[in-house]
């Protein structure tokens, strides 16, 4: 396989893998998150929040993938990029790494959202207790 073929195939393959990683993380977290969101905010808002989780994870994954550039802001020409196979492999690694970093940041952010939902869930209970 020539370097140019490798570049084309690996770019789209890594892009697809990144997207799949985002969707997988969403699917893993969806069920418990939907229950929490529904309990805290009601069925309709809960559904909106769950969809927001999906959109957020997918966007984070795609953003991570897209944040790596081959040209290094115009410092490398296309010919230089294609010539160096090791650089192509390294860039693919970097794309996957950035995808992982963005997904981790997004997961932490949604952990905070869950914390806020839990605080919201506790408030009515605490108020009821105070009234009694």
């Amino acid at each position: 396989m020539s370097n140019e073929h490798y570049l084309i195939v690996s770019y789209f393959l890594v892009g697809l893998v990144s997207l799949c990683l985002g969707i997988t993380v969403y699917r893993v977290l969806r069920a418990p998150f939907a229950t929490i969101a529904e309990a805290a905010t009601g069925r309709l808002r809960g559904r909106v929040l769950t969809r927001a989780l999906g959109a957020f994870m997918t966007l984070a994954a795609v953003l991570g993938f897209l944040s790596v550039t081959y040209t290094q802001k115009g410092c490398r020409s296309y010919e230089e990029i294609v010539k160096d196979r090791a650089y192509l492999v390294q860039t693919n690694h970097q794309q996957l790494q950035r995808t992982g970093d963005w997904i981790v940041s997004a997961v932490f952010l949604w952990c905070v959202v869950v914390l806020i939902c839990l605080l919201g869930l506790r408030r009515p209970t605490a108020n009821r207790r105070n009234e009694n």
Partner: protein, 116 residues
């Protein structure tokens, strides 16, 4: 197989093993703590799944980020050093992520205990 590929694969296997080990060691205690604090099974499940995802992504990301600059005729110890350098990045990132998670758990405990 080139020394580069061997070092990469060895680091990958050790990283996965470390993630599984940390998860196995911390999960029972973390589950107990969350069940007591959160008192909502789905929230416990969410935080445990988030923990596993974060560990896995951070470890593998760190491993992918480290460079294994080995020539074809590299000696055994050069491969070992490359693996050690890769593992250093993995441990460093795991350390940071565990710190962040501990911070998150502290906020969770402080906020929910006060409500209780």
């Amino acid at each position: 197989m080139s020394p580069h590929s061997i070092s990469f694969l060895v680091t990958l296997v050790i990283s996965i093993f470390i993630v599984l080990l940390i998860d196995r060691i911390l999960r029972p205690g973390l589950r107990g703590l969350l069940e007591e604090i959160v008192a909502l099974p789905s929230a416990t499940e969410f935080y445990l799944r988030a923990f596993a995802i974060v560990l896995a992504f951070v470890a593998i990301g760190a491993m992918l980020g480290s460079s294994f600059d080995l020539k074809d005729g590299a000696r055994f110890m050069e491969c070992v050093w490359a693996v050690a350098a890769g593992l250093k990045d993995v441990f460093q990132n795991l350390f940071v992520v565990l710190l962040v998670y501990v911070g998150l758990m502290t906020v969770l405990i402080a906020a929910l205990r006060r409500k209780q």
